[in-house]
Amino acid sequence: MKGFWWKIAGVLLFLYVLIGGMIIPIKSGITSVTPNNAKSGEQLTFNVVGYNTNFLSATKVRAWLKLDSIHAISATEIEKISENDAKFAFSIPSNFPTKEAVQPLTLIVDTDIDGVFVQPNAIFVTLSDSAVISSEAWMSSAIGQFSEVKGIKFPYRNILNETIRNTFFHIALWFAMFILLIAGVYHAVRFLNTGDMVHDIKSAAFNKIGIMYGVFGLITGSIWAKFTWDTFWTSDVKLNMTAIAMLIYLAYLVLRGSSSDHDRRAKLSASYSIFAFVALIPLVFIIPRMTDSLHPGNGGNPALGGDDLDNTLRLFFYPSIIALALLGTWMSQLLIRYEKLKEKILLKNQ
């Protein structure tokens, strides 16, 4: 049992992430609003399709169209069709407080069960030529007293939908990979300092599992991209640079397999793994941040903050990193034990 607790901890943490990460529901959101355009002064009914909403069960449903922080109109009539479908009628004022030809309006819905949820730029209103600048018919700062969301729920993001749960697997895999590769580079340095073959074995094992996690990260990212960007691979900087970093690391495996002389192999692979790790940092962290990127967390595209990683997601994201790092260490440990045994037999035979 001694020395086994962290393996159990890793398994239990990953189980917690799997179960909790899959059963906690996503907050309510709006998937579509039809029609999505209108003319000023029109009386219109919009068909709203919600996701995870409870329009029928909710006793109080309110809806607004918001122009800016102080101008909004509230729905004149609300018709509930089903839990996820409702009709909202709005009379769009003929006069707007600003004179722009096309004005985007944000739909805000508040129910006593699901709390408040919004669809930005839900409706585009084209102003007629006779419209004058006036904020009459627009109520000022009347939106308020929103209902609270009950219980723990993950944020709803358009396009992402349920795939936001991939945060616990795809992103955590990369973080865990970094922990393993840092362990690999640490043992590589220790080997070069001491010349102790144990450090060579450890460095190789941590690097191997780290590379495996990196390959998992690329595959899972590719699957996620298929569902959100509708393509397995794009020529995005983040994707290409990460692929290059992984290729550099794959060359490490080739290098280790190429030499049968143990001392030479150990020295070469230790120095190469330091080079590969140093190359990984600019390729993954710096270059993608210097240009525009589709991938969150790069080039002015924020991630790990706001609704992409709120406190409910953090509840599973951080344990997932720890769990994957612990499981990775376990797998590395098995490789280390195997290699040590192999060396022992080799020495005995000589």
Partner: protein, 70 residues
């Protein structure tokens, strides 16, 4: 090992064109794209299984080596 790898490759060759078709992806996209998460977890699981399988084979080889020496 070679047999296993070629088997995985062949099964992947069978699955990928299926996935590329609109219909099966529509199924994977249903209920808020939840099946993408299932696919991701499956990939991690299959990967770890392959690692375990390879380690198993390597250990068997080592065991046989010890057995032959005795």
């Amino acid at each position: 090992m070679k047999k296993f790898l070629s088997l995985t490759f062949i099964s992947l060759c069978g699955i990928l064109p299926l996935m590329a078709q609109g219909n099966s992806l529509d199924f994977l996209r249903s209920t808020g794209k939840i099946y993408s998460v299932v696919t991701v977890i499956a990939v991690i699981f299959i990967g770890i299984t392959i690692l375990l399988y390879r380690l198993d084979r390597k250990l068997t080889k080592l065991e046989n080596q010890i057995k032959n020496e005795q």
